[in-house]
Amino acid sequence: MAMLATTRRISHWFDERLGLDAIRQFIAHKTVPLHSATPWYYFGGVTLFLFVLQVLTGVLLLLYYRPTPSEAYESVQFIVTRVQFGWLVRSIHSWSANLMILTAFIHMFSVVFLHAYRKPRELTWLSGVVLLGLAMGFGFSGYLLPWNTVSYFATKVGTDMAASVPWIGPPLARFLRGGEEVGGATLTRFFGFHVAVLPGLATLLLILHLLLVQKLGISSPPKVEAEHARKGTSIPQMPFFPNFFLRELMAWYAALGVLGSLAAIFPWELGDKADPFASAPAGIRPEWYFLAPFYTLKLLPSHVGFIEGELLGLLGFAVLVLGWVSLPFWGTNKQGFDRTHLVKGVAFALLAYLVTFSLLGYYR
């Protein structure tokens, strides 16, 4: 009894200062629309869970990792061979990074197919797409950190691509590399981006994204809205807490099981230490989420008319990304009606392109 009274007193103390009761009330009244597509809502939460795992395992890796060309590889080797459960921490960090990008893609496409980007959720969409871009930036910068052969040459190819952009390309590539070639300065910079710049930006954007989701609530698909409007009923809702939250927790546990299995059965390989003087190994390719653009650029001829093939490809990707980011603005017409068929068609085409070209890039 005394214990309960103490807990209440502490809770009251915090409540007076932080207004926790308002948050409790908000959570108690928060609901999630219940329909056949509700399971797709879990992917946002799973992505968040994997991001948290990234932060935790990243902090543990930081205890031993040393970002210099002479020590980076050896420090990762030390982590996976000598540090107690170091192999598990490193494997979970690497696998969860990849799974996080996969679930972020699934979350993004589910938002598109459920038309959740519509007014007033344009900013939620924009912050989400930028977060996915940051996640890929995490992947690109983190890939170099073990300083192994594959990561070294993949970074060389990636920064070479950046250099081929007219005007800003060469200074951008120099900025990324910290010089003319990938070397010690690049490793230090990428480490800085990976553990300071990107986490800072990602945390701010994540807070904004989550606040927008809370403020605007969870969107229902137009088809479901129309069906209930025709029937004159309201869309059934599921209480967020505990019903949705416990289901989300189950999804998190399932993700943890998948991660643990991958880490134990297929530990992330370390490969051979990078040798800048060696020739690039055959079949060098980037991480799977960069494979589609990589393979597209590989297919392009050296010149298309008067323009360089690689430059044309990069311009094409820039247009594609801009078009995708501005989806909420062209996804509805001037009268405010949704262009659901157009958006679905574009999304299917993009998905088909990404899957096909990623597979071709992997197997060819």
Binding site: Q77, P242, R247, L249, M250, Y253, F266, W268
Partner: protein, 421 residues
């Protein structure tokens, strides 16, 4: 067009034609190009010749004056015309320039100029000097009128083509009949490990005819010098052999060192089977029960044992690596074990068991150490999988518990929901 314009066009055309007008005249090529057969062929071949590229012409070898149009004047003996060079005179003619360091070093500062001196010591050179015109001279190997640099892969003396060039004469039974020489060397060489390295792997440093017999000073190695010849590449083996008990015995018996076990032109890939078993060469001289036979068996056993132990470690580490275990350090150590195996095989050439056992013991220690590393990696793999099984079980139970909690909450709220809502 004004007069001034015509003047400048004239000056321009003259400027273009001047180099053509100033180019040295070569009446040899002009006349012989218009002839047929053997008198015309050299003019075509000469365009590919290294001498032509360096600015030499027909007259530099054949004499005469190539600036004269009149054939009698151009090919006058008074102007040093030699005509067709006698085969026995060819080496001397080539040596006029190739033994002249001042001339040759203008083109290649590091080019040797002792080819003729060496040639005179060769069997080919001695026979030419004795008047045997069918013995090989410079042009038989280097070609004539289309001589290319040795590094040019089209040259008949390029390392990849040299064995075939030597075989043109040495595999010709008619040509070799009068010298009473065998003609199977090229056929044997093509079965050898040296040919495999040269022709199949394209290793230009692999030995061909000239590597053992010399090139300009070509001579068959004598029985006593075979080990020294092989030792130019296999230096360590030669050193071990020279200190071995076999060396004085073979020398006393007039046996040609390395050739006794490995053969000469058909040097096969060395294998541990040469020591013991049905293909053993030791057993050709040593009976199994003799001291030598027992020593050979012991050396074979040691080397075979080390090879098997290293393979066992390699297999186990391979399984661990494929399971994602980090065993790169053990693989590096295993490489040292393989080096010990190589040292053991080389040590055989000393023909003393104790000498072979030293690297073999070192290798066995490494094999056992790396096998332990492999076992530890496999234990770690087992530990991870058991840990995973427990974790998955815990996760499954937790998910089931959460699902039951959700069902319970939802059925409770269904029951408490006011009727009609």
């Amino acid at each position: 067009m004004t007069r001034l314009g015509s003047y400048w066009i004239g000056v321009f055309l003259l400027g273009l034609l001047t180099p053509l007008l100033l180019e040295a005249k070569d009446s040899c090529v002009e006349c012989h190009s218009a002839l047929d057969g053997n008198l015309m062929t050299p003019t075509q071949a000469f365009s590919a010749d290294v001498h032509q590229h360096r600015g030499f012409g027909c007259a530099d070898c054949h004499g005469g004056d190539s600036t004269l149009d009149d054939p009698d004047g151009a090919m006058s003996p008074k102007r040093g015309f030699l005509g067709k060079i006698k085969r026995t005179e060819v080496p001397k003619l080539c040596a006029r320039c190739h033994s002249d360091a001042n001339l040759i070093h203008k083109f290649r500062p590091q080019q040797r100029v002792d080819q003729y001196a060496q040639y005179q010591t060769s069997v080919h050179g001695k026979r030419i000097a004795s008047g045997d015109a069918s013995a090989a001279n410079c042009v038989d190997c280097h070609s004539v009128h289309d001589i290319r640099e040795v590094k040019d892969s089209r040259s008949p003396v390029h390392p990849l083509r040299l064995p075939e060039t030597c075989a043109r004469c040495h595999a010709d039974s008619t040509h070799m009949a009068k010298y009473k020489l065998p003609t199977n060397q090229f056929e044997d060489y093509r079965k050898s490990v040296h040919w495999e390295a040269l022709a199949q792997r394209g290793d230009l440093s692999a030995p061909s005819c000239a590597s053992c017999h010399g090139n300009h000073g070509a001579t068959p190695p004598q029985v006593s010098s075979v080990a020294a010849v092989c030792g130019t590449c296999h230096a360590l083996v030669e050193d071990l052999y020279s200190k071995s008990p076999h060396q004085p015995v073979f020398a006393g018996m007039g046996l040609a060192g390395c050739v006794v076990c490995h053969g000469n032109h058909a040097v096969s890939r060395p294998s541990d089977a040469l020591l013991a078993g049905p293909d053993a060469v030791c057993s050709q001289c040593h009976e199994e029960s003799s001291t030598g036979g027992k020593a050979a068996a012991e050396m074979a056993q040691g080397i075979g044992g080390l090879q098997a132990a290293l393979k066992r470690s390699d297999d186990l580490l391979g399984v661990a690596k494929r399971s994602g275990m980090e065993v790169s350090e053990a693989f590096l150590r295993l490489q040292e074990g393989r080096e010990a195996l190589i040292k053991g095989r080389v040590a055989v050439h000393n023909f003393q068991v104790a000498f072979v056992n030293k690297p073999v013991s070192e290798g066995l220690a490494i094999a056992s150490e790396t096998y332990r590393a492999g076992e530890e990696a496999m234990n770690e793999r087992r530990f991870r999988r058991i840990g995973l099984a427990f974790s998955l079980l815990t996760i499954a139970v937790t998910i089931a518990g959460l699902w039951m909690a959700v069902r319970s909450i939802e059925s409770k709220s269904e029951r408490t929901k006011p009727s009609g809502s």
